[in-house]
Amino acid sequence: MPRKKIDLKYDIDYLSILDKDGEVDSDLEPDIDDDRLLDLHRAMLLGRRFDERMLKLQRSGKIGTFAPIHGQEASQLGAVACLEEEDWLVPSFRETAAEIWRGKAMENVLLAYAGFNEGAHVPKGVNNLPVSVPVGTQALHAVGIGYAMKLKGKKEVAMVFFGDGATSEGDVHEAMNFAGVFQTPTVFICQNNHWAISIKRSHQTRSETIAQKALAYGMPGIQADGNDALAVYAAAKEAVDRARAGDGPTFIECVTYRMSVHTTADDPKRYRSDEEVEKWKERDPIDRFQKYLKDKDLLSDDAIEALESEIKDEIKAAVKGWEKRMAELTDKTGMFDNVFAEMPPYLAEQKEAFEKTLSS
C-alpha cells in the first residue's frame, strides 16, 4: 500500500473527572488523602480572595499592574500540588496562587506589584524561579533545569507554566523539542485560558487542541479540564511520576478561562462579550470542587464560612506586613546590587554619584 494512515505512538486524551456540577466520575477519581484535598481547596479559595484584594489595591493606586488569576485556580494549583519541595517551579506571570502554594509570601507578591524589586527576591534554597514576563521564554529554562537534575542523578522534576498565547513563541517549541530529544524530567503546563490579551485561542493557532503539539516532539500530551482540580491533579500526577521515573517530559493543556482582565491595564470589553464570560461562570472551579468535597462530607457551609474568615484575616495580616515592609525599604541603592557578583569600579562610581544626588 503506497498510502496509509501512520500510527503515532501517542493519542491525545481529554480528561474530565468532576463535571460542571461537581459530580465525580468515580472510575477516574484520583487517590488524594483528605487533608490534601482540603489544603487544595483552601489554596484555591485563598488564591481567589487574594486576587480580589489585589484588584482593589490596584484600583485604589496602592499597587501597579498585575495579572489576575480569577478562574484559573484549579488549573495551576491542581498541577503544583503534585510537586515535592525539592522540585522546581518555573512560572510565567499568572501563577500567583501556585507560587503561594510553593511558599511565596503574599507580602512579597504585593511588594513586587507595588514596584519594589525586593518583592521578587527568592530566599536561598527555594526552588521557585521568579515571575517571567517575556512570554514563553521560561519554558527552555525548565528543560535545562530538568537536564541538570538528570545529569546529577536526582529524582526531581521541573514544572513550567505558560499560556495559550505562549505556544506561538519559538522558545516554547524549542523547549518542547529539547525536552523530547534529551528526555528531560519536565512537565509543561499550558494554561489555555482562551485569550492572549485580545487574541482568542482560535486565532492563535489552527491546531484543534494545543495538547496535540506534544506529538510533534515525541512526548505524551493530554488535555485536561482546567477548571476541574481533580482532572488537573490526575494529569499532573501522571506526568510528574513519569518524569521522576526517568521516562521523560509531558505536555498538559489545561482548558480554563481568564475570567478577569488580562492585566489591570486591559479593557476586555473591547474584544469579548459578557455572555462568553457568563457562560464560564457556570464552570467555576471552586464551586465545583466545594460540591465534591461536600459530597464527600469533607466540607460544610459552616466550614466554608469559617475558612473564609480565616483567609480574610490571613490576607489582612499579609497586607499589614507588606505595608510595614514598604516603610522599612528606605535604601534606594538596591539597583546597583546583584548586577554582578562583584561590583566593577565604574559601577561603584555610578553608585557613589547616585548617593550624592540623594544627599543634595
Partner: protein, 328 residues
C-alpha cells in the same frame, strides 16, 4: 489642525499612509480588534479591514520575519512590537536579514519596513516594560533608528519612515504618549530621517537629547535661564542612526561646552558615539570635558525606584552647572 497626543498623532500618520498607499499594512500583537495596548492602531481595522491590519500570533520573531517577507515582495509593513523589551527575539531577524538583504543581494532585494515599539520608563510598568536599549539597534549597520519626542514630529517622522526605502526602527517614548498635546496639521507632513533639530538656541552650553528626555532637558534649560541666566542650545536628535553630527558639532564650536542626556544605560550608549564625534570633529573648540547625564548601568528598577534611575531636571541642571563652571 488639531491638538493631538502622540498616540493620536501616530494613529493619524498610519491612517493617512494606509489611505494613500495600499501597500502599507499594519501588523502585530493586539493591533487589530483591540487597537493596540496603547491604542496607537485604534480604528485601523475598521477602516482597512483585517487583511491589511493583522492581529498576529504571539511571536516577535515571527512578526519581524513575516514583515521582512512582505517587504521583500513590495509591501510596506508597519509592524508593532508591543514593548521594546520584547523585541530582542525580533532582533535576530532584523539584524540577520532586514539590515543586510539590500547589500547581500546587491540591491535586488530591499526591506522597506518599519518596526515600531514603545520604549522607556516612567509609566509604573512591570519588568521589561520600561527599558531604553536603542543602542542595540543603532549599533547595527543597515538599520535606521528614529526616536520622536513630540506628537508633531512623531507623525511626520513616521510618515517618512514608512516611505523610507530601508528598514527603520521607530522607538516611541511611551512616557510621552499621552503626557501632552501639540498642534498637528491635518495635511501631510514629513521630516527627513537622519536630521536633528535645534529646538532652542543659545550660546553658553549645548545640550543634546532625544525622545522622552526632551521634556526634562527643556525644563532644565528654562531653569538654567531663570536661575543662572544661562542660555542653552538644545538639540533634539530625532534620528539616532544615521547620526546627524553636523548640527551638534557646529553648535559645539559656538558654545564649547556640551552635555548629552539619555535614559539608556551609560556605557556604550548613544552618548558615547555622540561624544566621540565631537572629539573627532570639534576637539579644539571644547572648553570643558563633555558630560553625560544617563541611566545607570543597571536594569531600570521597578516603579518605586524608576525615577532614581531616570535622568531628571535636577541631575541635568547640576551637570550643566558643573560643565559651565569648569576651568582648564
Amino acid at each position: 489642525m488639531a491638538k493631538l497626543t502622540m498616540v493620536q498623532a501616530i494613529n493619524l500618520a498610519l491612517h493617512q499612509e494606509m489611505k494613500k498607499d495600499e501597500d502599507v499594512v499594519v501588523l502585530g500583537e493586539d493591533v487589530g480588534v483591540d487597537g493596540g495596548v496603547f491604542r496607537v492602531t485604534d480604528g485601523l481595522i475598521d477602516e482597512f479591514g483585517e487583511e491589511r491590519v493583522m492581529d498576529t500570533p504571539l511571536a516577535e520573531s515571527g512578526i519581524a520575519g513575516f514583515a521582512i517577507g512582505m517587504a521583500l515582495y513590495g509591501l510596506k509593513p508597519v509592524a508593532e512590537i508591543q514593548f521594546s523589551g520584547f523585541a530582542y527575539i525580533a532582533f535576530h531577524q532584523m539584524e540577520a536579514h532586514a539590515a543586510r538583504l539590500r547589500g547581500r543581494s546587491g540591491g535586488r532585494f530591499t526591506v522597506p519596513m518599519v518596526l515600531r515599539m514603545p520604549y522607556g520608563g516612567g509609566v509604573r510598568a512591570l519588568e521589561h516594560h520600561s527599558e531604553s536599549r536603542e543602542a542595540y539597534w543603532a549599533h547595527t549597520p543597515g538599520l535606521k533608528t528614529v526616536i520622536p519626542s513630540t506628537p508633531r514630529n512623531a507623525r511626520s517622522l513616521l510618515v517618512s519612515a514608512i516611505r523610507d526605502p530601508d528598514p527603520v526602527i521607530f522607538y516611541e517614548p511611551k512616557a510621552s504618549y499621552r503626557a501632552f498635546k501639540e498642534e498637528v496639521p491635518d495635511e501631510e507632513e514629513t521630516f527627513p530621517i537622519g536630521e536633528s533639530q535645534i529646538v532652542r538656541e543659545g550660546d553658553d552650553l549645548t545640550v543634546i537629547a532625544y525622545g522622552a528626555m526632551m521634556r526634562p532637558t527643556l525644563e532644565a534649560a528654562d531653569k538654567l535661564k531663570e536661575d543662572d541666566g544661562i542660555d542653552c542650545e538644545v538639540i533634539d536628535l530625532l534620528t539616532i542612526s544615521p547620526l546627524d553630527d553636523a548640527k551638534f558639532t557646529k553648535s559645539a564650536q559656538k558654545t564649547g561646552r556640551i552635555l548629552v542626556v539619555h535614559e539608556a544605560p551609560r556605557s556604550f550608549g548613544p552618548g558615547a558615539e555622540i561624544i566621540t564625534r565631537l572629539v573627532e570633529k570639534s576637539f579644539v573648540y571644547l572648553e570643558a570635558p563633555v558630560r553625560r547625564v544617563t541611566g545607570y548601568d543597571v536594569v531600570i528598577p521597578l516603579y518605586q525606584r524608576e525615577f532614581d534611575y531616570l535622568p531628571g531636571v535636577d541631575r541635568i541642571v547640576s551637570a550643566a552647572r558643573e560643565t559651565l563652571d569648569f576651568k582648564a
